[in-house]
Symmetry: D3
Subunit: 134 residues, 6 copies
Amino acid sequence: MELTKILRFSAAHRLTSAMLSSEESDRLYGPCARDHGHNYALQATVRGTVDADGMVMDQVVLERAMQAVVDLVDHRDLTRDVPALSGVISTGENLAATFYRMIDRMLPPGRLVRVAVVETENNRFEYEARREAP
Amino acid sequence: MELTKILRFSAAHRLTSAMLSSEESDRLYGPCARDHGHNYALQATVRGTVDADGMVMDQVVLERAMQAVVDLVDHRDLTRDVPALSGVISTGENLAATFYRMIDRMLPPGRLVRVAVVETENNRFEYEARREAP
Amino acid sequence: MELTKILRFSAAHRLTSAMLSSEESDRLYGPCARDHGHNYALQATVRGTVDADGMVMDQVVLERAMQAVVDLVDHRDLTRDVPALSGVISTGENLAATFYRMIDRMLPPGRLVRVAVVETENNRFEYEARREAP
Amino acid sequence: MELTKILRFSAAHRLTSAMLSSEESDRLYGPCARDHGHNYALQATVRGTVDADGMVMDQVVLERAMQAVVDLVDHRDLTRDVPALSGVISTGENLAATFYRMIDRMLPPGRLVRVAVVETENNRFEYEARREAP
Amino acid sequence: MELTKILRFSAAHRLTSAMLSSEESDRLYGPCARDHGHNYALQATVRGTVDADGMVMDQVVLERAMQAVVDLVDHRDLTRDVPALSGVISTGENLAATFYRMIDRMLPPGRLVRVAVVETENNRFEYEARREAP
Amino acid sequence: MELTKILRFSAAHRLTSAMLSSEESDRLYGPCARDHGHNYALQATVRGTVDADGMVMDQVVLERAMQAVVDLVDHRDLTRDVPALSGVISTGENLAATFYRMIDRMLPPGRLVRVAVVETENNRFEYEARREAP
């Protein structure tokens, strides 16, 4: 059984890195190299067997882990103001992988299977540990 | 190829069980231990090869099976008024697993792969038989 | 300028009244005479001129008034468990009018113009004081 | 007849003004005083009689005027990078009023009746000239 | 009090008229001069005082009138196959006005106030009789 | 890591084939045998490791491939006017498989994993190459 919870946050960001000049950022990331922002959705999925109480995991446990992430990024600039994202180019891909690791650390081992970040109604980034194996 | 159909229903429920006192229910299920309700979405996915008519399954066949489930639960109290859910704590997890079995029984064998129950815009429960193996 | 805020809650209800037999309720309200529930959206709109801070009203003030209503009804049975709705047949119409009066009382006079209750994605009930004059 | 078109853009912003200290901004605007961002929807409504071609206004004309606004703000920081918003605290109220004036200037006189800015799925700001009279 | 109901239908159409050459249609309507289609939403709003049963109008009455319209257009080509739309250029504007008249005729006089047709998530056409007076 | 992009288009279609009489089409496909249309969503998912720029694939590359498909079908009749769909019964299943092949050809080999076609809010068709093996 899989349970997916969805939380939302609003954040600013721009795509660039210390290794890129302003022109290189523009060429690589297009308009996303400029400061802008999104209403993000964070989706986390846990898996397991259903217990006698009818639950794969207490939703409060999952929500608390996700909320800890949201508290770091909501109404923040992901590029400048979030220590946990320092040095991370805030593409949807990097956000999904980073949030996966943060949430995974707060849950019982082996329960989190997937984290998705929805940036707009036109794109979605999904990290699933099982798929990333070497 | 996978085809997913989505039907909606509105139902009341509360989370509790015959084995729990009212206080234990409150502690375990929080506000969900009180009578409340949802606009649910029921999503069922079938898989197969596409036939000469361009279909993995006649949508009417899938819809009829899902509608039979919806007819049992729509505009009902899942905790008190649905014989098919008698003794089932109506968590999203238990609903997804129960609806899976009900729909699977009405379809040709081996075609149903997944049933999801969406309780609110913030959570989703998904049962996939292949993942539940012993 | 108008500002509309939207809050959501999940509640059970059934349509009936002390003056109706069970058969009369069934005839009048159809399936809604049975216990069921919804994910409701509550929308409240205030109007005014925009102040020097760029706001028609501090959103926190409006949200607090709306939240006070949501706290009474969220994860409750509107028909049995909400004293503020005692004696009120919980149609969308009656909910919208009742919530309007409750929110209006908590805001500075003359600011609230409209309250809408969205019961499902297929219906919406809207109360606007100005339209209800004798 | 009314025609409403909807365009979307993603922008960063923070609520503050030259007249406010950082502490005053925090107190007044809460988390919105920090850099963050949104996927905005811009909705513009024109009114008129339907012509022989079945249109209240050529949709291309309305879209072009709205797109000119979107081009100024999409993938930008509304607080720092948009000359047209210089000195404007970028509350939803001020955005709606400013965008109204910009779009109105690009359309035949008397046709634009309303502009709404949707900041998140939980709030909406609507400017209608007729309501703002002295 | 206002009650709005929403029904959906899927239809093909193209914008053209007997008075226009193919080139003129292309110039006037752009890509909409070609055969294409939409998942439409039809929204109808009635107004009145709330009766002792808590209703502004029996929803079944409103739904039946709207369904009669949907039955004529659902899974049809609006340009070629719907006698009720013969000679009507199927712009959103003309659909909204035509559906208004059809639904209004089926309801008690003076109750219908507004009909909206949503063609895509980017446009909406709304007819309100009161606004169309000479 | 998976990246999913979503583009939308509006098209007409009817389900039938050269091998079926009009009566047979009606019996097999029901109302879908008549000319009608939809606002479709096209979803394409690519998979890979995240590069030093934080991307699994340049979104522009994926979008360009998807846009090339959309350009062929948007504001068209899928049954009559799209050479690439000639001889293809335009069921959601066939569209998903055909669009998969078209997009796959335009991307670096082995990157596209899944294409979904959403026809209405009630159904969804998904093609994943890995599942279709002989």
